[in-house]
């Protein structure tokens, strides 16, 4: 059993009438523009290989047109790939017949949409019940479960409203409740919070993180917003023009951007909030510093240091010291990468 809940292997998606014939061209290096100009086909995804970690938030990010929404729709096969494999719990989704794929969508993976995808003629509770109705669960039971999840996303008392009577943020909570109600292990979120204004978006991120802390679903989260990716992602994959550019932890992405494209993305990030003491920690010196947990962000650590007389942190894992970080290490790490190159000599773990 692999550590990945979902494995995407050698996935190609080319839009056009002779998509299969184009795979070799693309594999041999024909670019997106050339494929369109010379062959009239649109490149969606090129040789994507991604492992989706179980019980964690996997963010796939990229700008519009990078193929991220196409990619997520392959997982529950709303889009058929040109070639490739998608293995979920050891079974190839692409080998499933209609019956099986329907069951997978009913019980295995539920989805949240950018524009909510709520049914305007159904009330809030009827929307939240939709997946359960499709599963064939008796309506009394379905209503009970839907009510539970509406309550969890903070929509108690709104059960009998129609979606059009709710704000965007509330509508997306209905979308989230609908997806959670089916009890599927996998939650596919396609730019789920992108249509919401920043404050509501932060709210929704908090709701999602709170729920995830308890539910441990396998979440695939699509976004174009790096701050969002860094905040909620346990693991981030970056796509450009249908190709996977980089995959790693948020810290990894920020500290070691694979190329200029990623570096460009990350340059305006609030690094103090993303980087943790663990990332900066290096070998213990003899000096004793302020004892802080390694999972704290630099921002949090600095706040603590201001209130103490230390200018050194001893990084702790449970109760054992595992390294230390000095104030100048922190200042060096939160300055922008183009500046750090010539500055700090700290080597990151």
């Amino acid at each position: 059993m692999s550590k990945y809940k979902i494995e995407i292997k050698n996935l190609y998606k080319i839009f056009g009438p002779n998509d299969k014939d184009m795979v070799e061209l693309v594999a041999n290096g024909t670019g997106k523009q050339e494929l369109l100009d010379k062959h009239g086909h649109v490149l969606g995804l090129k040789n994507v290989n991604i492992g989706i970690l179980a019980n964690s938030v996997n963010v796939i990010m990229g700008l519009s047109g990078s193929g991220k929404s196409t990619l997520i729709r392959h997982i529950n096969r709303l889009i058929e790939p040109t070639v490739g494999e998608i293995i979920v719990d050891g079974e190839n989704v692409l080998g499933m017949n209609h019956e099986k794929i329907r069951d997978f969508r009913r019980f295995g993976a539920s989805m949240v949409f950018q524009k909510f995808g709520l049914m305007p003629h159904r009330t809030v509770i009827e929307n939240a019940m939709y997946g359960l109705n499709i599963q064939g669960i008796a309506s009394v039971e379905a209503e009970k479960r839907a009510k539970h999840w509406l309550n969890r996303v903070g929509l108690s008392g709104f059960e009998d409203r129609f979606p059009a009577q709710l704000s965007g943020g509330m509508q997306q909570r209905v979308g989230l409740a609908r997806a959670l109600a089916t009890d599927a292990d996998i939650l596919l979120m396609d730019e789920a919070f992108s249509a919401l204004d920043p404050l509501i978006r932060a709210d929704m991120q908090t709701i999602l993180l709170d729920l995830q802390a308890e539910l441990h679903k396998t979440i695939v989260f699509i976004t174009h917003d790096l701050d969002e990716a860094l905040r909620i992602g346990d693991d981030i994959a970056i796509l450009r023009d249908g190709e996977l550019i980089q995959k790693g932890t948020p810290q990894n992405i920020v500290l070691k951007p694979a190329d200029d494209y990623v570096a460009d993305f990350t340059k305006d990030v609030n690094r103090a909030r993303v980087l943790t003491l663990n990332t900066l920690s290096h070998d213990t010196g003899s000096k004793e510093g302020l004892r802080l947990d390694g999972d704290l962000s630099i921002e949090q650590a600095m706040q603590q240091m201001v209130n103490s007389e230390y200018n050194l942190v001893t990084v702790m894992n449970d109760s054992t010291p595992i390294g230390q970080v000095s104030l100048s290490d922190m200042v060096g790490a939160i300055s922008r990468p183009d500046a750090t190159n010539s500055g700090s000599t700290t080597t990151y773990r």
Binding site: L78, R102, F113, I134
Partner: protein
């Protein structure tokens, strides 16, 4: 030069033979199949007769209460309901009660048939572009061909009476419901359909829980149009022996009875307005989710 001055038409004798041949073969066809086709439509005939008799034998106060009740149930408006009752009282007072009942029976049965056939056809059309491009020209023909042209073969096959009249009405009145069902289903938001798919809906669940409810405004417009067009056919239907408000109108045309024509014509208009307003209000009421903002 003769070639350009006179159209190179078919030889007159050949043309005559062609027409004769078609006529003769249709006559043969109707002679050998007429009875079985008539038998096929028998249930329809009995249903129509039964319904008409039911309306005619029911005491008038009950009919008026039912009309007012149905109007209120459909529209939730006392004014409309009272208006419908008063119209019917007037119609009865002016001696048009029996004819009105016959017409209501015909329109109801015709609308029922059009919906029962039209909606499934519209659903099938919305699923397949090929079917759509096949059926659309047929609908065009049904709506534009002069009525007498298809009335003739229908009368030759089935004779004069209620069933041919009903068929004539249905041919003319069915296209709107087919077209608007097709249109309505095609206009349903793709993202909502995707959501339905993503939760594993099968075809039936998708159709009945998402597509049809969301296409309802258009389907209702289709039902409304169908009723209006069926009413417009009442006078034509009377030409082939269908009883109802069309008969006196026809008489008045033939004999220049101005008042008779006016009264019966206005009775048809009154029916049309009642049917139209009630069905529109009912359609709107089904769409109450479209009123955003305020409390339910």
């Amino acid at each position: 030069m003769g070639f350009f001055n006179e159209f190179p038409a078919m030889e007159r004798t050949d043309l005559r033979d062609l027409k004769k041949g078609i006529d003769a073969s249709f006559k043969d066809f109707s002679r050998s199949w007429g009875e079985s086709i008539e038998a096929f439509f028998d249930p329809l005939f009995y249903f129509l007769v039964y319904f008409e008799k039911l309306l005619l034998s029911t005491p008038w106060p009950i009919i008026i209460s039912i009309v007012a009740g149905l109007s209120y149930w459909g529209s939730r408006s006392w004014r409309l309901s009272a208006g419908a009752a008063i119209s019917f009282l007037f119609i009865g007072y002016l001696g048009m009660w029996d004819n009105t009942m016959s017409t209501v029976a015909l329109i109801s049965v015709a609308t029922f048939i059009c919906i029962a056939l039209g909606i499934p056809i519209g659903v099938a059309m919305s699923k397949s572009d090929r079917l759509q491009s096949t059926i659309t020209p047929i609908l065009d023909v049904m709506q534009t061909i002069p009525i007498f042209v298809y009335l003739l073969p229908v009368v030759m096959l089935l004779g004069i009476g209620k069933v041919p009249g009903l068929i004539a009405v249905c041919v003319y009145a069915m296209p709107p419901i087919v077209r608007l069902t097709n249109l309505g289903l095609r206009l349903v938001d793709k993202e909502i359909l995707e959501a339905a798919d993503a939760f594993g809906s099968n075809y039936r669940q998708r159709l009945f829980s998402v597509q049809l409810p969301l296409a309802l405004p258009n389907i209702f417009a289709g039902v409304n149009q169908t009723i209006m067009m069926a009413l417009a056919m009442v006078v034509i239907a009377s030409m082939i022996g269908v009883k109802g408000l069309g008969v006196p109108v026809l008489q008045s045309i033939q004999n220049q009875y101005l008042a008779l024509g006016m009264m019966n014509g206005l009775a048809i208009v009154a029916l049309a307005i009642i049917f139209d307003r009630v069905s529109q209000k009912y359609g709107k009421r089904l769409q109450r989710h479209r009123e955003g903002g305020s409390d339910v």
